[in-house]
Amino acid sequence: MTTPHTTWHADDDLLAAYVAGELDPIGGASVEQHLTRCAECRVRIRPLVDVPALDRTWLAIRDTVQSPVLPLPIRVARRLGLPEPTSVLLAATASLRTAWLASAVVALAFAVLAAAWSSDGVIAPFLLVAPLIPVLGVAAAYGPHEDPLESLVVTAPYGRTRLILLRTLAVLASALPVAVPLGFLLPGPVWLAVAWLGPALALVPVLLALASFVGPRAAGATVAIGWSAVVLGSLRPLPATWPVEATQQVVYLGLAALAGVVLYVRTRHDRQIGAVL
């Protein structure tokens, strides 16, 4: 709305005081109102405004508005010293979203509750779910499609291997601190609370090695089915803690070492420039 016949104009002192922020709220608001309607006063206020300072303010506002909001675990990690560029990369990781982590924790909490409430301490649900959380978190890190940015990530100087290892570490670092304390609520021997970490950590390199051949989706599914078979297969004939006993732990360690070798050979000998993970 412009009123063409404005007779009153703000004088230079008033405009200067307005720019300097020295007016009281009511005075400031009325000058502002007047400026929106009066082209003449807008022309006269221009030389009084510190343009570079205004630009800086505007850029700061744009930066704040345009930068994506970081998921909670990444904000926590930033406080703990995670470099800023790394946090941008991790923010795009689907399984670091608060929602994903929350659902993982809820699944695990149910498994713990089931164990605690059952009369004879059934720990199978926990052993089934807990080691798969890091694995599926790493597999899901790629997002709903196998990395849609694949072709760009491959040709970026940052490097694909580095990005995948970074995501894997981030998933472990965000999932384990919530999963480990839950393990201590389990009935049964105390060593159980940490024993599940054996397969949990061993299955991650197995997943990465499989993913280098068949992609993260299929690899995630294969590992999940394989682990379920181990847990469910041992349910009846063997003691409940069988999947995480010492002998089996050695097997997991062996699998992890094998997966490590496969990954090493794959990254060395593939003709694709860069990594294959």
Partner: protein, 292 residues
């Protein structure tokens, strides 16, 4: 030293030969790659973009060997911009967030400089105002421009664009031409397309690939000259023409073969030259394209 040097480059996928011995070199300026589907355009671009390796032959990019040390590959990639043919966008990223993500992958670690650079490339492709829009809410042409923006990060010395004009309307094509003319002075631009008009409008040099080999390599004007004296306007389609079609005036545009009776020589276009060059391939392509 040329920015891009390829000698005897071959690449096969299983039993399919995508590139069968290609010798090409490129320096500053815009080069268009033309060719039918499966001619090897995308394979060639992916090799130059260090996305895949060649099976044999030598590839030198900015004087370095992309098959060499990790340091060599990384040094090349720091000077490289790449727009892949198929680029997926994470569904909940904004245009700004997407380009910023790629900027971090390109090692723009200083936040202030990175944000300024992201804004610069988004403004360059005319998306400054849509920066906060989710990529999933953008039109096809706008998405393509987001892809183009990320390829321009850091003023690359080698710019590889695989079908950059897909989904762009004529006005956006004109914008792309302006953007490329800005960067082409200091950068080797290699772009592929199906549209001869794009090459005529955007490029100084044209390379025609067919069956994994280079069929033509030269200036756009030179390629047009190859069709001189073989293009006519006539009242009938010509019985042995490579290709002919009825134009809006009711006359036939006849390319190749013997001039039909009463034919008037016509000014050849890049498309005519391309159709003549590919001969049989083009004939089958146009038969498929015009079922009526």
């Amino acid at each position: 030293m040329n920015a891009i040097d390829l000698q005897g480059v071959t690449k096969s996928y299983g039993r399919t030969r995508a590139l069968a011995g290609v010798d090409l070199s490129f320096d500053r300026g815009v080069t268009g790659l033309l060719g039918p589907n499966g001619a090897g355009k995308t394979t060639l671009l992916r090799i130059v973009a260090t996305s895949i390796g060649a099976d044999s032959g030598t590839v030198r990019l900015l004087g370095r060997d992309p098959h060499g040390t990790h340091g060599d590959v990384t040094a090349i990639r720091r000077e490289l911009g790449y727009l892949p043919q198929e680029l997926g966008y994470p569904s909940d990223m904004t245009a700004f967030g997407f380009v910023e993500y790629v900027a971090v992958l390109k090692e723009w670690n200083d936040r202030t400089r990175r944000l300024a650079e992201v804004r610069r490339v988004l403004d360059l492709v005319g998306l400054g105002d849509l920066a906060t829009r989710k990529v999933s809410k953008l039109s096809g042409g706008q998405k393509r421009r987001v892809g183009l923006a990320q390829s321009l990060l850091g003023d690359p010395r080698v710019l590889v664009l695989d079908e950059p004009t897909t989904g762009l309307d004529p006005a956006q094509r004109a914008d792309l031409r302006r953007t490329l003319s800005v960067v082409a002075g200091r950068c080797a631009v290699l772009l592929s397309t199906h549209q001869t008009e794009d090459v005529a409008a955007l490029c100084e040099r044209v390379v025609v690939l067919a069956g994994g080999r280079v069929r033509f390599d030269g200036a756009v004007s030179e390629m047009i000259r190859t069709a001189e004296g073989q293009v006519w306007l006539a009242d009938d389609p010509g019985h042995d023409a490579v290709v002919s079609w009825r134009t809006g005036t009711g006359r036939h545009h006849v390319v190749g073969g013997m001039p039909p009776p009463g034919a008037v020589p016509a000014e050849p276009t890049l498309e005519d030259a391309y159709l003549l060059m590919l001969g049989a391939d083009a004939r089958t392509a146009s038969a498929r394209a015009a079922p009526a």
